[in-house]
């Protein structure tokens, strides 16, 4: 229950922000971030409590009974660790936001509410305990991310970026849904921790789909193009969604589904291909850019690639290493993004060529960057180092082709990582191209406090490595029981992995230093144009289809619906039993039928509106005759009254319209005839089919006896109307009153607007006084 209360607290916070943010004027607008931080703080507390407990807390709410759809949350070592990252960094991001924005920033309440909504979705995602809960929260993070990327929505470039992000991640969501449907179909169950390993064709397809979903969410090539564009979001969003949390959802999915898919043919190769490809390509991208935030975005693609490659490998050691990197990365990458945001708001630019002298003017930011960057590069004594060591150990630990591929990929990618980290620190804090010193605005306390805290966390994490290692181990054990024996090692000694680490650092730093002096602007990431074209094509294709289907002609809409409805009668053809049908009850009914049909044809064929009205009258009076023949005098009476009024109204009303119908084209008329005949045939078929299978006889005697005995009336139909269905009849009278009021209003507004009453005089509105009376007569 606690788990749902935490999510409910987020909703309450959002409500409060939206309500108070719109009305309060006395408090600082940034107070909304305090409100938004409280639920996140609550979630942090819940996660810490979950970490300290040995048993899992679960909470299940039935969503759709009988469909096996439950909303299930679970707090165990794994989800508590992930929840701590999400909620803990969330709290820091809200504090940071209070420093990043100024009081005059626009839309702060909207921003804080959406960010809090994202926070709740992400916490729900990491806490979810059934595949459907996971899917729902997965989609919610996509949507809130779209809203956050598009926060400055007046800018067209921002709109494009937000749309690109949404289209790619939402398509991934569909792939995830398809994959989950495939596995849920089998016997694996839907509880995330209890999924059984599966193999076979369905499982292979499902594995590929889940991996594709993970790749879209975690910005792996070739789906990575949305992430650099998402940097259009305010920096708190980038620090939270696009480094620490949302992009991790893909990594988390690989971790969660790894145990069930690792035996399929596709899981390992595809996962490692996504991961290593992104690791290398992302690092190359990070080396090319001159926008500090873009450098970090590409670095994120690279780091996520490392995590996915390691986790997809699936060995116990790899699972342990993957979770370690996930924890370390959340801490150092959030700090780096926040520093870039600080540089942005204090200097007004993120272009590393223009930034100069920041090392002396922003010393805290510099040291935060050095510490967090070193952690990212895997340099001791920081938390990133043992995590990177664990990854190298994992690569060394596997057999076969994976060993070579992983080693080459991880080592190569790591060299590039060290290089772009070095280049990032050198270019951002080194001299500008022109040699000028950048003007720096005063320090903002919340930003300094939060970034310092995160940098300190990278150091403390290394100091208290046993504690971090225990947390990671108990999480990894839930995914792969073999992880039990591993721990994070502070000083491994001269082992292969350590030597490799040193080689990586020794090769990477000079490379980064060399490339830091080459800062030519690389305008667009490779592949972004193609992705944008694809997005444009999808959107214009959607518009084309809408334009074609939704052309605006009401008759065509109607005919489409009629054709579809007619098709529904096809199954009834087989049900018709000609022998069971009676043709008629007495000779007078066919004669009346001819009168009715002739009148109906008359409404179409007789030229002029007056003739059409007379044709309608003939139908109505024929109907009255049929009612008499069927033994329904009440109906006949009502029909006669109603028909008289309708014909009079038609004559009065139509007299004011032009005398003749406009001409219609031959083809159009024929098409309408065919469609209309189709529906007529369909209705006849349906009725005949139903009539062929009578379902017993009606309790007529009961009605007649009861009407006299308890209803106190001899006219059974009237007793039914006034006693059995009294409320319905009352509603019917209300409808007629509404119609009468409507007609009077239409007539009077016409007069007021036109200034005279030549078009619709009071008589036009008069006849509806009669129907209310006629109902009274009938009912009494």
């Amino acid at each position: 229950m606690l788990l749902w209360v935490v999510l409910g607290a987020h909703l309450a916070g959002i409500g409060l922000i939206m309500f108070a943010g719109g009305t309060q004027r006395r408090l600082d607008a940034r107070a909304v971030f305090v409100v938004a931080a409280l639920p996140a703080l609550f979630a942090t507390g819940a996660s810490i409590r979950g970490l300290s407990q040995d048993t899992a807390t679960t909470s299940r709410v039935a969503w759709v009974e009988g469909l096996d759809l439950v909303l299930a949350l679970r707090l165990d070592a794994l989800s508590a660790l992930l929840g701590l990252i999400v909620a803990g960094i969330g709290v820091l991001v809200f504090v940071y936001s209070a420093g990043y924005f100024t009081e005059s920033s626009a839309g702060l309440a909207r921003f804080a509410a959406t960010l809090s909504g994202f926070s709740a979705s992400m916490i729900g995602l990491v806490w979810s305990d059934s595949i459907w809960t996971l899917f729902v929260f997965w989609e919610l993070t996509s949507i809130t991310s779209f809203l956050l990327v598009g926060h400055k929505h007046v800018d067209e470039a921002v709109q494009r970026s937000a749309r690109r992000a949404l289209l790619i991640t939402a398509s991934g969501g569909l792939a995830l849904l398809a994959g989950l449907l495939l596995i849920a179909d089998g016997d694996t169950g839907i509880a995330l921790r209890d999924l059984e390993p599966t193999t076979g064709t369905a499982a292979t397809v499902a594995a590929a789909l889940v991996l594709i979903a993970a790749a879209t969410k975690s910005a792996q090539i070739p789906f990575h193009v949305w992430l650099p564009g998402a940097m259009a979001a305010p920096t708190p969003v980038s620090a939270y969604l696009h480094s620490a949390t949302m992009v991790k959802a893909g990594v988390i999915a690989v971790a969660l589904f790894g145990p069930i898919f690792k035996d399929t043919d596709v899981w390992q190769p595809l996962g490692i291909a996504f991961g290593l490809g992104s690791m290398i390509w992302g690092a190359i991208g990070a080396l090319r850019h001159v926008d500090a935030k873009l450098i970090l975005a590409w670095g994120t693609i690279s780091q996520l690639g490392l995590m996915i490659a390691v986790l997809a490998t699936g060995s116990a050691k790899a699972t342990f290493a993957g979770i370690s990197i996930l924890v370390a990365h959340a801490i150092f990458k959030a700090a780096l993004f926040m520093v870039v945001g600080e540089i942005d708001v204090r200097t007004g630019t993120r272009d590393v060529r223009k930034l100069g002298g920041l090392r002396t003017s922003m010393p805290v930011a510099f040291w935060v960057c050095v510490v967090s960057g070193a952690s990212m590069a895997g340099i001791p004594p920081l938390l990133g180092f043992p995590a990177k060591e664990a990854a190298l150990e994992a690569a060394l630990g596997v057999d076969g082709w994976q060993r070579v591929v992983l080693l080459v990929g991880v080592v190569g990618g790591s060299v590039l990582t060290v290089a772009y980290t070095t280049r990032f620190v050198l270019t951002v804090f080194g001299p500008s191209d022109s040699g000028e010193v950048t003007d720096v605005a005063p320090r903002r306390l919340p930003i300094t406090a939060v970034t310092t805290l995160l940098a300190a966390a990278s150091i403390v994490g290394f100091v208290a490595l046993d504690w971090v290692g225990d947390g990671v181990r108990s999480a990894a054990v839930l995914l792969n029981p073999g992880s039990e024996v591993y721990s994070l090692i502070r000083w491994p000694g001269l082992k292969t992995a350590f030597v490799l680490s040193m080689v990586i650092i020794a090769a990477g730093i000079p490379l980064g230093w060399f490339l830091s002096r080459r800062t030519d602007d690389i305008p667009r990431p490779l592949g972004a144009d193609g992705a944008d074209r694809l997005v444009d094509e999808v959107l214009s294709g959607a518009r084309r289809i809408t334009g074609r289907v939704q052309h605006g002609s009401l008759p065509v809409y109607l005919m489409t619906a009629v054709v579809v409805a007619s098709a529904a009668s096809v199954p009834f053809i087989a049900a018709i039993d000609v022998d069971a049908l009676r043709w008629t009850d007495g000779a007078v009914v066919p004669a009346l039928g001819v009168l009715i049909v002739a009148g109906a044809i008359g409404t179409v064929r007789i030229p002029g509106r007056l003739g059409a009205a007379l044709g309608l009258g003939s139908v109505g009076f024929g109907m009255a005759g049929v009612f008499v023949a069927q033994g329904a005098p009440d109906l006949a009476l009502t029909q006669l009254l109603v028909e008289t009024v309708v014909v009079v109204a038609f004559v009065i009303g139509l007299g004011r319209l032009s005398a003749n119908f406009p001409p219609v084209g031959y083809v159009w008329r024929t098409l309408r005839m065919v469609v209309a005949t189709g529906l007529g045939a369909a209705v006849s078929i349906g009725l005949a089919g139903a009539a062929s299978k009578p379902s017993g006889s009606a309790p007529v005697s009961d009605f007649v006896d009861e009407a006299a005995a308890t209803g106190g009336g001899n006219n059974v139909v009237n007793v039914i109307l006034t006693d059995v269905r009294a409320l319905d009849t009352f509603g019917e009278v209300v409808v007629l009153v509404a119609v009468a009021v409507g007609i009077v209003a239409l007539a009077q507004s016409g007069r007021a607007g036109a200034g005279d009453d030549t078009d619709l005089d009071p008589e036009g509105a008069d006849p509806e006084g009669t129907p209310a009376r006629s109902v009274d007569e009938v009912a009494s």
């Binding site: 008759p555 044809i601 069927q630 329904a632 005098p633 109906l635 009303g653 109307l721 036109a754």
Partner: protein, 121 residues
């Protein structure tokens, strides 16, 4: 349910649909009226074979009576379709007053989307 009436219901539906897909509002009103008749007739024929009027004091035996329940339902249907017909007529009159004719125009927003698409190509 007699075969003749089933055919009459079909014919009324067909002609009603034909009229409803027209562009002239007065024809659409006629079509609605015919469709209403078709529905009522279908209800009444569904009541089974013809019988004596369901008036308790005049029946020899209650077993000969026509089923009163479909009749009661039909009565409601007749009155409601009557109200609808009159209201549509008033709308047609108003439309004529505003635009000079009683033709149904294409939906303006939909048209705009379609034209926007054509202009793009």
């Amino acid at each position: 349910m007699s075969g003749v009436l089933i055919l009459v219901v079909g014919a009324l539906t067909a002609i009603g649909t034909y009229l409803v897909t027209s562009r002239a509002l007065s024809r659409i009103v006629l079509g609605f009226a015919l469709l209403g008749h078709a529905a009522v007739l279908a209800l009444v024929t569904a009541g089974g074979r013809a019988g004596d009027p369901p008036l308790a004091d005049r029946l020899e035996t209650s077993a000969d009576a026509a089923d009163p329940l479909p009749q009661a339902l039909s009565l409601t249907a007749i009155v409601i379709s009557f109200g609808l017909t009159l209201f549509l007529l008033a709308l047609a009159g108003r439309q004529r007053q505003l635009s000079g004719d009683d033709l149904v125009e294409d939906d303006i927003e939909d048209r705009r989307i379609a034209e926007h698409t054509e202009a793009e190509q």
